[in-house]
Symmetry: C2
Subunit: 336 residues, 2 copies
């Protein structure tokens, strides 16, 4: 399985390490031999038709800040050129999300699918802005588009709802889908002001470079778009989500909730409407988790309400979700 | 798909209603046309090669207390005779669990598999006493043995761990697997004595006819056996589980835990050892759920700890798990 990797940040590096450490296990257990034939970051690229040395790749990135240093004799080509010119089976898109035009991820994904590559995206931007049309494009080009890592990080929320609950009808769901705001709200409940809680989250490296993605509910809304499309079969994009962030919450709001044995959480919900908004939930509701945890409750027709809780992010967790998608693609390919 | 149903208690009746209500949906969505060709309870049986009328079946059971009244002109035959003589594809075993010899369920399952029927069991007894050999028998006879409803009721815990986490290594797990004891412990935390909490649970119909199954941890241990075999690949049976029930717990134990911001829960755990025992867990641990809820936390190599919470029992929930198993069997059959 020949892979092009877009971006080489924390998640992609974790993936490289994971593939490296599990080479023999993946081959013996699943018959899968993944090879990364091309990778690029913002400063350059590295490619090798017979597969890049993953250990070396991680080391040069660490030492020189770019994969460019892998082999300086190589001509620098753009990501799109790499997709056009390298012989590959799968594209893994890990560049940063943005919700304006979702570039460069959007172009990577579209170009790859048109060229017949299967795509795994952990970049939420393209999916949030164009889920329905990207799925259509995948179908049209007879390729698979997977994105397990976009919601819940290493916690297989999408897979659970789609596969483990097969035969069931999910009626509605609601969840805490953004760990950063949950961390801030948890600290506000412990007595910190919004600003102090935000500073603390920033110091810990939990807040996105563009803090609006967390604080204004954009990240949670993007995940809601993906869940609504994938699980509920809706055809919606970012503009269909009503978004209210947590910037206006005061310590008084938190205290008022506490008096009612409740906590204020930023909840993404899919019921009659698609909404991201801070709401009060009961402290003994399984959904009411603290810290950076994510949680989602699915209400189904016959099996009642089921809640999944897990860490929502992290390089190695998200890398493990990419590996699941790779195994999934490998399984689907081997059927045909 | 031709089905023989062993037992016609709450779960089996819920299944009959579920199949009845979803006939057209199951056919259009999954191409599945399940027909129950034979059913028996402790007082008699009913059978029809072209499929029993499920509405009538539920009604006669309600009115006369046995499926025998469905057609009194029919000769009464034993469950085993029915398995031998009826033409069927799947056996669904729903008779009561016992952990002495697991009969009559054990004989139903073995006979059916030897005859080439796929088996769905929501009866934990046979699996708890003989999981490894039953799986071997299934493999030998090239039939499928499914048991989603034995752990977590309608919450697809087994499926989640096996399928949604594919590609991951689960290192250990621990869970609250018995809703009745959890209900009793929750009420003890609210100030009730053990005896009062037990009486209350009995009044609500939560306690098994043989209360030892709940109170001495046998039910939780049976589920632990199933999880350990299915998910961790261990070859264990009931005798390999160390079991300590909740009978000896006092209000003081509960209060001592509360002082440490902990709750006493009956935890089934798979780590170095397989143990069912009351232990103190932190109140902010996602696993710490109250009432009749079940919860299980899987610790995996790369994706951290993930917790699933849901109702653990109930007729309709368990029936929905049987339906999932049926769909699974149907899917596997159609591959060949």
């Amino acid at each position: 399985m020949r892979i092009i990797l877009c971006g080489f940040g924390v998640v992609a590096q974790s993936l490289a390490k994971l593939l490296e450490s599990r080479t023999s296990d993946l081959y013996s257990k699943y018959g899968m031999k993944p090879r990364i034939v091309g990778v690029f970051d913002s400063k350059g690229c590295a490619y090798d038709n017979s597969g890049l040395d993953l250990k070396k790749l991680v080391n040069v990135k660490k030492e020189f800040g770019s994969v460019r240093a892998y082999d300086k004799s190589q001509k620098i080509i753009s990501g799109l050129d790499m997709i056009h010119n390298l012989d590959a089976d799968v594209l893994i898109e890990t560049t940063a999300s943005n919700y304006k035009d979702a570039e460069p991820g959007m172009s990577h994904i579209i170009t790859a699918m048109k060229k017949g590559l299967h795509v795994i995206s952990v970049n939420k931007g393209p999916l949030a802005l164009a889920f329905p049309s990207l799925m259509e494009l995948a179908t049209y080009n007879q390729v698979l588009l997977r994105f397990s890592g976009t919601v819940g990080g290493g916690t297989p929320i999408l897979d659970y709802a789609k596969n483990s609950l097969r035969g069931e009808r999910i009626i509605s769901f609601q969840g805490i889908l953004n760990g950063t705001t949950n961390y801030i709200l948890t600290n506000m409940a412990k007595g910190l002001s919004f600003n102090d809680a935000l500073s603390d989250a920033k110091n810990k490296g939990y807040v996105e470079a563009d803090e609006s993605l967390d604080l204004d509910g954009l990240d949670a809304a993007a995940k809601l778009v993906i869940l609504a499309n994938w699980i509920m079969g809706l055809k919606v994009t970012m503009k269909d989500i009503e978004k209210i962030g947590i910037r206006k919450l005061t310590s008084k709001d938190i205290d008022d909730a506490a008096k009612k044995s409740c906590s204020v959480k930023l909840i993404a919900s899919c019921n009659d409407k698609l909404v991201v908004s801070p709401i009060e939930i009961k402290n003994d509701d399984p959904l009411c988790v603290d810290g950076t945890l994510n949680a989602i409750s699915f209400t189904s027709e016959h099996s009642g309400t089921q809640t999944i809780i897990g860490r929502g992010a992290g390089g190695i967790e998200t890398a493990s979700s990419i590996l699941r998608d790779l195994l999934d693609i490998r399984k689907e390919i081997s059927k045909t």
